[in-house]
């Protein structure tokens, strides 16, 4: 048995309007090199000036991750040559990151666990390289160059792929709550590298492998699972694990060695002379601390308390800021909080996942969603119908009440109508009726089923039950 030792290095693009050191927009998906200027292109003579919002957002994240914020902040140059790096150095932070010694808590079935955060620092993003299928050239687009990037490095406190996944979900939730990043992994606004090694029973720690190129949370999990298995198999065979960087291949579901002739890194860090130090007074930090919103953990606790829902439900609902917002809007309109939470967690989430819809972009507004629950309460639709109406509302974008009306799906509560159906069913199923008199309860259930079939599900089951019982009894007595 081996114990995996995992550390994660997450890069998140900060949600500012302009870049870290110049006024270019950070909007995603624009024509190549259309959002560039002498500064983010690293043209000769250009100089960086720090975007205050980038520092503020970084500090927000650092404080929310329980970090110690440095009073003296400086930037350093990390020197290396790469075509996506316009100056051939990256403005980053080396020996004095803006914050360090933080923590993030993850909840799992085995309870709460603390993952220590080693450091959180601010740096600039590089441009993007594109390798066309044909030809001998690679293309460089500097639109992304200079986008503010937060690097969040955990201590190697994570001991399973599952835990790494939970860590990422929780980190994403926190950053979304803070509104510092949109954490969109597809657009590259959140990126994650992992370090993994195995500790054997004797306690000896194996060589570290760095995993890159995972572009989804599930990818991180799968890559780690694969890598842990791969390393364990090697160790079982008494083979050595090479310290290296491996890339996750999401198509083949394997990690592959990055077989580049990588020379030893010698980044020649030194203080960035073009930027002055940032010395933050207590007040500045205090103001940012006070501006922090309620974070997932606190919100979950409040949900459990205020809405009287199970802790687990509260944790699921608050894991996504926008889901939690949705829930809260619903319970403002409809006070049966447990029903709302059940419906969101089972029905709504299932449909969203199936259709790959982000709750943020859900067109079904809370008011419409709770109208389904209200119709059930009114007795105008059954639970079964309600479950059918929800996906239809999602697809057609129609109001649930309109769907029910249009389809004539309104439940039949009219006693006379149901009585006619019941009479018909009893007449058509003499055997079942006979069995009922013999004391077979299953016969009753069968007859109810038949009523629902004949009414095409529209008969209010409560009313149908009552009338069936009355009629059978009346006949039995006769």
């Amino acid at each position: 048995m081996y114990q995996p030792v995992i550390g994660l290095e997450v890069h998140v693009q900060l949600d500012t309007k302009s870049k870290c050191f110049c006024g270019c927009s950070i909007k995603f998906g624009q024509s190549p090199n259309s959002q560039t200027c002498p500064v983010c292109l690293g043209f000769p003579g250009s100089l960086p000036v720090l975007n205050e919002a980038a520092l503020k957002l970084s500090l927000k994240a650092a404080l929310a991750l329980d970090c110690e914020v440095s009073k003296f902040i400086k930037f350093d140059r990390k020197n290396y040559f790469y075509p996506d790096l316009p100056k051939n150095f990256q403005i980053s932070q080396y020996d004095l990151p803006l914050s360090h010694n933080g923590a993030l808590f993850i909840d799992s079935e085995s309870g709460r666990k603390k993952i220590r955060i080693r450091r959180v620092h601010l740096e600039e993003d590089a441009g993007k390289l594109v390798h066309p299928e044909k030809g001998k050239m690679s293309m460089v687009d500097f639109n992304r160059s200079g986008t503010p990037l937060l690097e969040i490095v955990s201590e190697p406190d994570i001991d399973s792929a599952e835990e790494a996944y939970d860590y990422l979900l929780r980190l994403k939730a926190i950053l979304e709550y803070l509104e510092v990043s949109d954490c969109n992994m597809e657009e590259g606004s959140l990126r994650c590298d992992a370090n993994v090694s195995l500790k054997s029973a004797g306690g000896a720690l194996g060589d570290k492998v760095e995993l890159k190129n995972m572009n989804s949370f599930k990818g991180v999990k799968q890559a780690l699972e694969y890598e842990i298995k791969r390393q364990a198999e090697l160790l079982d065979k008494k083979k050595k694990i090479t310290q290296e960087t491996r890339l996750w291949d999401a198509v083949k579901n394997v990690t592959v060695s990055m077989r580049s002739k990588e020379e030893a890194h010698d980044y020649r860090y030194f203080p960035e002379p073009d930027l002055v130090p940032f010395i933050l007074d207590e007040d500045y930090i205090k103001k940012i601390r006070e501006s922090l919103p309620e974070l997932p953990q606190a919100r979950a606790e409040r949900f459990a308390r205020e809405y009287n829902i199970p802790r687990y439900d509260a944790a699921v609902l608050t894991a996504d800021k926008y889901l939690a917002d949705y829930f809260e809007q619903c319970v403002q309109l409809y006070d049966k909080t447990k029903i709302v939470s059940n419906w969101i967690m089972t029905e709504l989430l299932a449909h969203l996942n199936k259709r790959n819809i982000d709750i943020r972009y859900l067109e079904l507004k809370p008011k419409s969603f709770v109208s389904i629950l209200e119709m059930m309460d009114e007795g105008s639709i059954s639970g079964k119908l309600a479950k059918e109406i929800l996906p239809e509302a999602l697809e057609s974008k129609k109001e649930p009440r309109d769907i029910v009306k249009e389809k004539g799906l309104v439940q039949v509560t009219d006693t006379k109508e149901i009585e006619t159906i019941v009479e018909r069913v009893i007449k058509e199923n003499p055997k079942a009726a006979g069995d009922y008199y013999q004391g077979k309860t299953s016969a009753f259930t069968f007859l109810v089923g038949q009523i629902m079939r004949v009414s095409r599900g529209k008969a209010n089951p409560k009313v149908a039950n009552k009338i069936l019982k009355e009629q059978l009894e009346r006949r039995g007595n006769a």
């Binding site: 100089l47 020197n79 100056k87 030194f270 073009d274 930027l275």
Partner: protein, 482 residues
């Protein structure tokens, strides 16, 4: 009228009196250049048509600026939009910046004519203007000699009356030393006084743009225009800019002047020493309190400088890789090879030497021994000045230990070349303002310069001292024969 012989303030008066025009001045200079430039070779780019176009534009202007119609030469490491800006290096050949440096934008606003690009040591690496990829500039006082560097083209063009004003940049003496060797005024402002935006960086923590001029008044006028806060340079201080021409008073009465004994020791040429001592005598006679002071860490400045400056340069010059602009090698196997060949072909010998030295000083295992140590020594050098300025208002020294040396004389001995900046380097390390003014000629008729150093942002003290000295001497009026 020989307009090219006049100063900016004289020409401004003539323009105001409608006795001349920007076009007349430009044409007179272009005529002068036809005669002298093939000897001096001060410029790497001069576009006559563009100069005349600028003159025509100026004629349409309704409001005149502080430098209306005054031609200014721009050192080739300062960006001028759409004009070749190459740091006199092969690696930047053909580079036309898409933007103006802040100081160039301000010059244009004030009606100056962006006249030509001044030749320089490649990337400002040098003290002789010999390492330019366009070939050396010659000293107008003796064409066999160097004009000093790295702003050699700027200094020589002012001395040769090929321009009225020039901008240079000073990282370790690159304005003051050529000014001294060419017999003109060179002003290195306080670090942070003038925006560096658009100055192609050599060593970011030392570089500063400044004026080269025919007299102190012209330097003050140019300094007025280029000084002041700029939101595009984080290191440009938000300190109020006084009207520097108001500091031009002919009076040093009570001014406390210190002369550091370390600057008058071994290595100082006797003729230079005599001139500077005579100058100190004159200042004393004019009412200044002159006394000896000590800057004990002077002897470490050159060593300190060559670590800090080359380390920063190695990083600043990493961007010249053939991807976005400038030279790209034509024959290579892969990306790595393209980098190595592009840079191997594009950089000259001195640039390579400094990049290698700087890369080494920052490399793994050597950072503490070199770079970190240098940052600490830098503090000691600055503290020397802080202490000295408790007892005096300005410091007077020779600008350069010798007058102009011969072309080729030191090119094979980098260390000897580096030591020619021995009196100017400390000022950059300490971030102080300093000015060099002519203070005599040696037996061969070569100019000698006198340096005034003041506290940070006390440019006015320098102007007062230098102006008084100039008003009581006539070295600045002498012209080389060309």
């Amino acid at each position: 009228m020989e307009l090219h012989r006049l100063t900016a303030h004289q020409l401004s008066d003539l323009i105001a009196q409608k006795k001349t025009s920007p076009k007349e001045i430009a044409q007179d200079l272009l005529k002068r250049i036809k005669k002298t430039e093939k000897k001096v070779k001060a410029f790497c780019f001069l576009d006559e048509k563009d100069v005349l176009r600028q003159c025509a534009e100026l004629e349409k202007r309704t409001s005149h600026g502080a430098l209306f119609g005054i031609p200014v030469v721009i050192k080739d490491n300062i960006c001028v939009q759409g004009q070749d800006t190459t740091c006199s290096s092969r690696i930047l050949k053909g580079f036309k910046p898409p933007y103006d440096a802040t100081c160039v934008r301000r010059l244009k606003q004030e009606g100056a004519i962006i006249f030509a690009k001044g030749n320089m040591d490649e990337f400002a690496f040098g003290s002789s203007c010999e390492t330019s990829c366009y070939g050396p500039t010659h000293n107008p006082w003796d064409l066999k000699r160097i004009p000093g560097g790295s702003s050699g083209g700027s200094a020589a063009s002012v001395a040769a009356d090929e321009t009225i004003l020039a901008l240079g940049s000073d990282t370790g003496g690159s304005i003051r030393q050529p000014a001294s060797l060419c017999g003109v005024v060179g002003f290195k402002p306080t670090y942070g006084r003038v925006s560096r935006y658009g100055l192609i960086a050599f060593a970011s923590s030392l570089d500063q743009i400044g004026p080269l001029a025919k007299d102190v008044q012209d330097a003050a006028i140019l300094l007025n225009v280029i000084s002041g806060h700029d939101g595009q340079d984080s290191t440009c201080a938000d300190v109020k800019v006084p009207d520097y021409t108001k500091a031009l008073v002919n009076n040093v009465n009570g001014l406390r002047i210190g002369y550091p004994k370390e600057y008058f020791a071994k290595g100082l040429n006797t003729e230079v020493k005599d001139s500077v001592e005579t100058a100190l005598g004159l200042l004393r006679k004019l009412g200044a309190q002159v006394k000896e002071i000590s800057l004990p860490h002077t002897g470490y400045a050159v060593a300190d400088y060559y670590i800090i400056a080359t380390a920063e340069a190695s990083s600043n010059l990493a961007r010249f890789d053939g991807v976005q602009y400038g030279h790209r090698a034509s024959d290579f196997d892969n990306l790595l090879d393209m980098y190595a060949k592009t840079r191997g072909e594009g950089f000259g010998e001195e640039a390579k030497r400094r990049i290698i030295l700087g890369t080494y000083a920052l490399s793994s295992g050597y950072y503490d021994a070199y770079y970190l140590r240098a940052l600490k020594a830098r503090r000691l050098i600055k503290e020397d000045f802080d202490r000295a300025f408790k007892d005096c208002d300005c410091i007077v020294t020779p600008t350069s230990p010798t007058a102009a040396f011969k072309i080729g004389e030191r090119i094979d001995n980098p260390l000897a070349m580096y030591l020619s900046d021995i009196y100017t380097i400390s000022v950059n390390l300490a971030g102080l303002p300093a000015i060099s003014v002519p203070c005599g000629f040696n037996e061969k008729g070569l100019p000698i310069g006198l340096q005034f150093i003041a506290r940070a942002f006390e440019e006015e003290v320098l102007l007062r001292g230098a102006y008084t000295f100039e008003q009581n001497t006539d070295y600045h009026l002498k012209k080389p024969e060309l």
